[in-house]
């Protein structure tokens, strides 16, 4: 009998997934060798090498685009929309059937806690396929113009923070609208995309409809630059987004970008404080803060600052950091050594600028990439940690005195992806929400996603919308959003 409640380790078994010693590219319905130098992918929680993955060169990308073009012209494009819907439903059900396998693999490759891959990533990915399957034969009634037509071949490049979910956000609407895809997963997290390729085969999806080309930046560039790609969709950093916009400018290609963010989470003095503290935690520490819409700037009304900070400090002391496969882990590993270095650098800058850094006394594993949940108080809007996207479990706390000041500070960013408002007063929520320049505004909650709800940003957070009826427009000829 121990004196206090120590949860015993509750690790999820990794034996449910078979990781092959090496993986090829998925082109035209087959796994083929890549012509580039293979790369390795590691488990960020242990630095253990998981497997070797092919690198796609320009020639490989060309092969994939040609396969996608052929499938678009011969099978997928001419297919009855209702039949396309059937394939999407089949994929959605397979994702559910193999949910545990996907969750374990995602946690191994990405470092995120199994609680989140199991309860958020995989169910939401399946939900996106279900939702878009429903649209496949109803596009004429989507309010996007009469008889909307697919664009053709979509080149899609996705990030490492939600590898499977971002794949679903990209692939499901593209297929539902009749396009075929060439998708490049992030170099540090390719494994669930390759498992998804297996699901495509299991669903008997016609060859070439979904092609997956693994690799790093060069492979992504080849996808974006390919002449026969009609549509480019990218989620990732603002810097890369800018390069892509330059590349695509002046071509016929349609482009959507979903980039960085520095969201304001505004807590008014009449907020439900206990739930607001949960929302702050969910806003910034969900997925180790590797969330483009993370609530990384807390704007708290000065009159309740001390109370909220005390509650927040107590709360982050209860967060459990460690083995991602332990079902009780709240915060897993940072995805890569590079990202960890960036988080450390920005945090050190925060201190150098005079902000106060608060961290719980948690023990971090010896191996792997780890960063404890961190809160900076006494942050001013002029500090870099209040302006730059950290993309890690680091929260900056600022204060305000009036609603106008809250809005001014919230909008004072080069980004505009999301925001949060905490108040018990409905009229205030509605008024403030209309004044915020952010694609998503959550009220009394944070980081909630749903396939029916459009998602996207203002300013340097990109353009275009994903999800909902609006998301379909990005993959249809002549459809205005």
């Amino acid at each position: 009998m121990t004196s206090v409640f120590e949860y015993a380790p509750a690790p999820e078994s990794r034996s449910i997934v078979d990781i092959a010693p090496s993986y090829g590219l998925f082109v035209d319905g087959e796994f083929v060798d890549g012509s580039g130098e293979p790369m390795t992918t590691v488990n960020p929680a242990t630095e253990e090498v998981l497997t070797e993955v092919a690198t796609g060169t320009t020639a490989d990308v060309d092969r994939a685009v040609r396969a996608a073009r052929k499938a678009f012209e011969k099978t997928w494009g001419p297919m009855r929309p209702a039949d396309r819907g059937k394939y999407l439903f089949r994929i959605a059900r397979l994702l559910q059937e193999r949910a545990r396998e996907f969750a374990v693999l995602e946690s191994l490759d990405n470092g995120k806690p199994i609680r989140e891959s199991r309860d958020v990533d995989v169910p939401l990915a399946a939900a996106h396929f279900f939702y878009h399957a429903g649209w496949a034969d109803k596009l004429d009634w989507a309010g996007l113009g009469p008889g909307p037509k697919p664009l053709g071949v979509a080149g899609q490049v996705i990030p490492w923070n939600f590898p499977l979910l971002m794949l679903a956000w990209k692939v499901a609407p593209a297929l539902a609208t009749g396009n075929t895809v060439v998708l490049k997963p992030a170099e540090t997290t390719p494994l669930t995309a390759l498992l998804f390729a297996e699901v495509c085969r299991q669903a008997d999806l016609p060859p070439g409809v979904v092609n997956i080309v693994t690799g790093a930046g060069d492979t992504g560039r080849a996808v974006v630059e390919h002449d026969d790609v009609d549509k480019v969709a990218f989620t990732g950093s603002t810097d890369v987004g800018r390069q892509i916009a330059r590349t695509v400018a002046g071509t016929r290609k349609k482009l959507t970008l979903e980039l960085g963010g520095k969201a304001a989470n505004i807590v008014f003095d009449d907020a439900p404080i206990d739930q607001a503290v949960e929302g702050i935690v969910q806003g910034i520490f969900f997925n180790q803060g590797h969330v483009c819409c993370a609530g990384s700037r807390l704007l708290v009304q000065e009159s309740i600052h001390d109370e909220v900070i005390a509650s927040l400090q107590r709360r982050i002391g209860t967060l459990r950091v460690g083995d991602p496969l332990d079902k009780n882990t709240d915060i897993g590993a940072i995805n890569s050594a590079e990202q960890l270095a960036r988080i450390r650098e920005l945090s050190d800058i925060g201190e150098a600028e005079g902000a106060q850094r608060w961290q719980p006394a948690c023990e971090l594993p010896d191996r792997g990439y780890w960063f404890p949940p961190t809160v900076f108080t006494d942050v001013s809007p002029a500090h870099r940690i209040a302006r730059d996207e950290v993309f890690g479990p680091v929260l900056s706390v600022l204060t305000f005195r009036t609603p106008d000041e809250a809005v001014a500070k919230a909008n004072n960013t080069t980004y505009g992806l999301s925001a949060g408002i905490w108040s018990e007063k409905g009229s205030r929520i509605l008024k403030i929400a209309n004044q915020l320049r952010a694609g998503v505004v959550w009220a009394n909650t944070f980081n909630k996603f749903d396939p029916t709800s459009p998602f996207g940003g203002y300013k340097q957070s990109g353009y275009g919308r994903e999800g909902g009826r609006h998301g379909l427009a990005a993959y249809l000829e002549g459809a205005d959003q």
Partner: protein, 331 residues
């Protein structure tokens, strides 16, 4: 420099420089001031509270921590019989079970208390002898609380004289819902005085208060009035103890200690029947109010059928297989 957060400094356990209740000593000066205070407490967002308990419900409790949790939960049970058909014989057999919950394993911990109607408190006291197990009696016109104050206080006096050292009172929900908060407060103060040495558990009957905002306000009234425990339900009204209600009451107890330095216990009662439910509550305490409350002095389960499920799970851990209901005693 990096500030490492010190959990002890945040617990609020040592603001002893202030006199007890110092920040709130004039809150109860009038009905209006009490009302203003209660309505100034932070609101509770129902959706958020439900999401939080759902998230805590996914904590996975295995092997050693499960063994600890089961034994701790057993030691926190207020073994209860509150039926019109209760007899001295039934109370005596319950007392025997309280002393030795599992005859097949003498290492099983004893429960915290036996909870009965006031007229049977004497029987329970005698049967429990010097075992150290408390006798809790429900009083104040339990479960409805619909009687004059004089009758309620007489009920309390009677139970204490019969040997109860813990009194479970019900608040006047009618007065609360009508907004007469000061009446509710004064009645609890009067009952507490009448209790003398006995510990007072204040039952809010949260199923009748309905909203979580009401639950928080009623919790504060009970704590300001000097209740030693706040308790969710009588067990006679559904819904009884739900996890969101427990979350809000634990938050209230935590905030009250941080502000006044005084710790108040918490007792969910009614509807907690399985080991799984009990462990979810232990997780909730651990991560809401903190481990200081993980002790029979500060936390109780009001339950009648929970104990047998805990015993069956305990036997399972010991023997490796599940046994049937005949391997534990009926009462």
């Amino acid at each position: 420099m990096t500030h490492v957060i010190d959990p002890d400094a945040l617990s609020g356990a040592t603001p002893a420089v202030r006199a007890p209740l110092a920040p709130y000593d004039d809150v109860t000066r009038s009905g209006a001031s009490l009302r203003t205070f209660l309505h100034g407490l932070p609101g509770v967002d129902q959706v958020g509270a439900e999401a939080r308990v759902a998230q805590l419900g996914t904590r996975s409790i295995k092997t050693t921590s499960k063994a600890w949790a089961i034994d701790t939960a057993i030691s926190m049970v207020d073994l209860t019989t509150l039926e019109g058909a209760d007899t001295p014989g039934k109370v005596r057999s319950l007392a025997a079970k309280a002393r030795q919950p599992d005859p097949s394993d003498p290492t099983t911990p004893r429960v915290a208390a036996v909870c009965v109607y006031g007229d049977l408190a004497g029987v329970a006291r005698e049967a429990l002898g010097d075992s150290g197990i408390h006798v809790a009696a429900v009083a104040t016109a339990f479960p409805s609380g619909r009687a004059s104050r004089a009758v309620k206080l007489a009920d309390v006096r009677d139970a204490v004289e019969n040997g109860a050292d813990e009194i479970d009172m019900v608040i006047d929900r009618g007065a609360f819902l009508a907004g007469r908060y000061l009446d509710v407060y004064e009645e609890i103060v009067a009952v507490k005085e009448t209790c003398g040495e006995a510990h007072l558990k204040v039952i809010l009957e949260t199923g009748e208060l309905v909203t979580l905002d009401n639950v928080r306000r009623a919790s504060w009234i009970a704590m300001l009035a000097g209740g030693d425990f706040i308790k969710t339900s009588t067990g006679k009204v559904s819904p009884a103890a739900t996890l969101p209600v427990s979350l809000v009451m634990l938050e209230a107890a935590r905030d009250f200690r941080a502000a006044t330095g005084r710790q108040v216990g918490f007792k969910p009662a009614g509807g907690i029947r399985t080991t799984k439910d009990a462990i979810k509550h232990l997780v909730l305490i651990n991560e809401t109010a903190g481990p200081d409350w993980l002790d029979p002095d500060w936390f109780r389960f009001g339950a009648s059928s929970l104990l047998n499920d805990l015993l069956l799970q305990r036997q399972k851990l010991r023997t490796g297989h599940y046994s049937g209901p005949d391997y534990v005693t009926v009462d």
